[in-house]
Symmetry: C2
Subunit: 590 residues, 2 copies
């Protein structure tokens, strides 16, 4: 057996900011070297950030990625770090001849090994996910190799993210290739309870391949996604050896005992079990095992409780959306209700209350307790608050056009949205919306009104979880939460009956079932995608099933009938340019 110390760089790159990502590569490699690592592993597409979406179809962007990789190899060596091999993800291109429908330039979701100033290995992801949040058939062509490099006598194989999840392909030949270690750079977005799934997957693949496995994952918010980190290492039996925390950057360093190998260098093609052949390419960095040294104790992060996990994801999402988009501050409406209270708390925890601006916008239907609770929230948290009454503005509209019923309710919501957008345009704040998933899913939201804004922190949080998170946050703190107040949320906001206050004595319960009932049904319909027969079989009330399916589908169609405003599309009609929102890459122009 031979020893190796591996450093997993669980990092937070920014899409398009190639020079900052490259600087971070050097900085973290220096840390890894200082901690005595023999191999540093960064995440999938670390140099470009992930996901880059349509950027990858721009030739100068791919050129910049490849140049950044090559420059990084040189720079690491120049800074005295050339002896430490570094595995890092980036974007490359294949030499394939273009054909109809193939992404322009045939880009690759690539990974490389940097050593002694050179790019020693280049490989690329074989399985391209094109489900859920992934659209990779649109952006990449697939790789067909499994590189194996010998490091201090140990054969180390490299595969990228999705190749671990799918049957067949490069990971399926790791065992035949006789690797002693498989390292996998990832950009695997957070989902509730995904950490359990990941560990189980890594353990299974380690056992199948008969070797230890290093899983390094991206952390941070990027556009609509949050990456949770949760990097981990399992041994050849699938047992957990080390694990990084979720939702924060961490250089996880672990010592492993790995089998020595003496297979000669060269290339062999294997049937990969998925209808393709994978070529194993071997290179040797160093044949001799290291002299024995004392291993470090392994670090295994404690898992977060379910509410802590979700709340941490929301805080990180807001923090990174603000920072990566170049905002300094946020603005939101404070109604006194629980949704805006929780959203304000998340924002204060993310960027500090001094950068959070709350606006109370009372109308004739706003109750005394709403104003009191909103003021109490601002006071407890120390965020900036102001009052802008909407009565006279609504009256000015009423003088010009006659609106009744829902149209009049929507008008109030839109006046509030315009006030927030006006202050945003004047002062540069990012507008946060405060709608929760239960009300958005069922259509209780006004287009260009309460839905107007740049980021919606709790759009994926059902109402029952809004209350759960509020109670949890009032009882807990966290090292990465910037809000210092104990019990930041007024108990009145948590316990009061929900109301939109758009007409006299309005209550959510006038038109919706209890949220406990609604949220269970929404979970089965929206998340689990059950049909009506299945929903009824699962015990939901048939009349409610019919009603909620209608509400959800209508809300969905209305959102799509009224898109954000025109998008610019190539080819005159069609799909919009899917550039990542927070991209920092700018093509150099003279």
């Amino acid at each position: 057996m031979a020893q190796l110390r591996i450093a997993l760089a669980q990092t937070n790159p920014t899409v398009g900011d190639l020079s900052a990502n490259a600087a971070k590569l050097v900085e973290w490699t220096r840390d890894a070297a200082a901690r005595g690592a023999h191999l540093a592993v960064f995440t999938e597409m670390f140099l470009t950030g992930y996901p880059v979406e349509d950027l990858v179809l721009r030739t100068p962007f791919v050129d910049a990625s490849v140049k950044t990789l090559e420059d990084s190899a040189t720079r690491l060596a120049a800074e005295g770090l050339g002896e430490l091999p570094v595995v890092v993800g980036y974007v490359d291109r294949s030499g394939l001849a273009p054909r109809l429908g193939q992404p322009k330039g045939a880009p690759l979701d690539a990974a490389a090994l940097l050593h002694r100033g050179r790019v020693v290995i280049r490989t690329a992801k074989h399985h391209l996910p094109n489900y859920g949040v992934f659209d990779e058939y649109r952006y990449f062509v697939r790789g067909d190799r499994l590189p194996v490099f010998r490091l201090h006598g140990v054969d180390v194989a490299v595969a990228v993210c999705e190749d671990l999840w799918q049957e067949g392909g490069p990971v399926a030949v790791v065992g035949q290739a006789g690797a002693g270690l498989l390292v996998v750079p990832n950009a695997s977005p957070y989902e509730k309870d995904k950490d359990d799934v990941r560990l189980e997957l890594c353990a299974r693949r380690a056992r199948e391949a008969g070797c230890a496995l290093v899983y390094a994952n991206q952390v941070g918010g990027q556009d609509e996604l949050v990456f949770d980190g949760d990097s981990l290492v399992v041994d050849a039996s699938g047992a957990l050896v080390a694990r990084a925390a979720q939702f924060r950057e961490e250089l996880l360093v672990v010592d492993l005992e790995l089998p020595e190998s003496s297979v000669p260098a060269g290339q062999i093609a294997y049937d990969a079990g998925d209808g393709t052949a994978i070529t194993v390419e071997r290179v040797v960095l160093s044949d001799e095992p290291l002299a024995s040294y004392p291993a470090l104790p392994a670090s295994i992060a404690e898992p977060l409780s379910p509410p802590a996990e979700v709340y941490s994801a929301l805080v990180l999402a807001v923090r990174d959306y603000v920072a990566k988009n170049g905002f300094q501050s946020v603005i939101l409406g404070l109604s006194g209700g629980i949704d805006s209270a929780l959203t304000a708390t998340i924002a204060s925890d993310a960027i500090g209350p001094s950068r959070v601006h709350g606006v109370l916008m009372p109308s004739r239907y706003t109750s005394e307790h709403s104003i009191a609770d909103a003021e109490e929230l601002a006071l407890r948290q120390g965020l900036n608050a102001r009052v802008v009454p909407i009565g006279d503005i609504v009256s000015a509209f009423d003088k010009e056009i006659d609106l009744s019923g829902l149209a009049a309710e929507n008008l109030q919501a839109r006046v509030r949205g315009m006030i927030l957008m006006g202050l945003s345009n004047e002062h540069g704040h990012l507008v946060l919306t405060t709608g929760n998933k239960s009300e958005l899913a069922t259509g209780y939201s006004t287009l260009y009104g309460d839905s107007a804004g740049g980021f919606a922190p709790i759009k994926d949080v059902p109402k029952t979880m809004v209350w759960e998170l509020a109670r949890w946050r009032n009882a807990h703190t966290g090292e990465h939460f910037l809000l210092e107040a104990a019990e930041p949320i007024p108990v009145g906001s948590i316990t009061k009956e929900p109301s939109a206050e758009l007409r006299p004595d309005q209550r959510d319960s006038d038109s919706l079932p209890p949220y406990e009932v609604l949220d269970r049904l929404l979970d089965d319909y929206v998340e689990k995608d059950l049909g009506s027969a299945e929903l009824i079989a699962a015990g939901h009330d048939p009349a409610l099933v019919a009603r909620v399916i209608r509400l959800v589908d209508l809300a969905e169609y209305k959102r799509r009938q009224y898109p954000p405003g025109p998008k610019i599309t190539p080819k005159n009609f069609g799909r919009d340019r899917r550039l990542p929102i927070t991209n920092r890459w700018r093509e150099h122009t003279p």
Copy 2:
């Protein structure tokens, strides 16, 4: 040689409206039979409409599609049409075992042959386009067959849409299979000048396969897409035999002389040249050629001029968006400028001026000629017009919040957007936005202001083409345009200098280059996706290239920073449910 009379059903289905589409199948098959056809060919996914996006992931939807197909076979026979074979597209599912990332239920973009009350053949598209407006790796698994049926002695092969465009696959084995005719159901969206590309492609494939080719294409607006029809028939030498008009429904009937075949029924697998095998499946409907009959004269539609083609696409897009979404009327702001004038004209041509509602919303910056031109437009077209001054509403905002510069300009645009949305909510009109591609691409548009609305008829029309279309429409009429006025657009609106009138003496030329210069550059950057070096090499001014790239990219990022309002996503974080906007399918609920 044997004769066959083929009817191409260039039809306009509605996504999700399976019963209406099935009724249309029967109606058009009856017409085809009445005109003596021996084979009727409908379009890709005709029974479900195209594109169905996420609907296809719902089990009850696929069940409904398959049942509609089977019921249609029975119904055609019951109505005395069973002797006429019908090729029609629908959605089916494969029997594949589910695996990670595969679309739920493994749906197929399928086509079937109906004859004598039975579904005689089922096949499915092999090549799944996943570029431009297509996302089919997300929705379908691929077919692996080429069905060939003998009809009156002629072997007829069936392939679906994209299989014609890609090298290899089912179309590549048509020649080896010795078919005398290839019929292809399509749902191929309109792009400028695509008709030339289609004819060339069909001619090439016919020559490669050595047989005649029938290309039946969908027509109509569906969500963001417009299908232009342009169905056509070429002979085995690639010569054009018949062609339907663009942008309207048509049953194109054509007589062909085709080779007889006597290959026995059965299955043979061929190497399809794309790394897959395609199984040719033969069935015999009838071996005997028809007795000789007099052929009909072939009909070849005249191509439209470039402005007629674009204008017709815009009219059809508005007409179908309104109708398929269940609206009765539209509303839009009339500024007196050319963009709102052209948009109103398109709407009047699409649904008739009595269903078009224009609102003049003058501010203190609105000039006399603007009001006069807007009033003149309403008068010429006979559309409904009203005046809602915004001055007092803007003043009411000014009393509560201090806004300056761009924030104040945006406020005016947003007050107008709210008035239109309020009247839309009150009266049920669809709001049309009036922005053109040049200004939207460069960011001269206000979020929740002039961009607020459900459909943006000229969002893909550059400013120079806006003027061209206005002049063209003033000089031409068209059979499918509902507006009867001659010269419907006041000449003042066409000739005046463009201005947003959001501050005193504002002119577009204050901040933008001449539109002739800008539009050429935007075309090269947005449509052709050239990088800055390529743009400069193409002769564009380097300083302007830098400035316009910055404007376009910033506008794009801002649009994405401020999404439409929260979307509901499964799995807590991620991609939204991509349901088609105008879907008519509702799962039956008790």
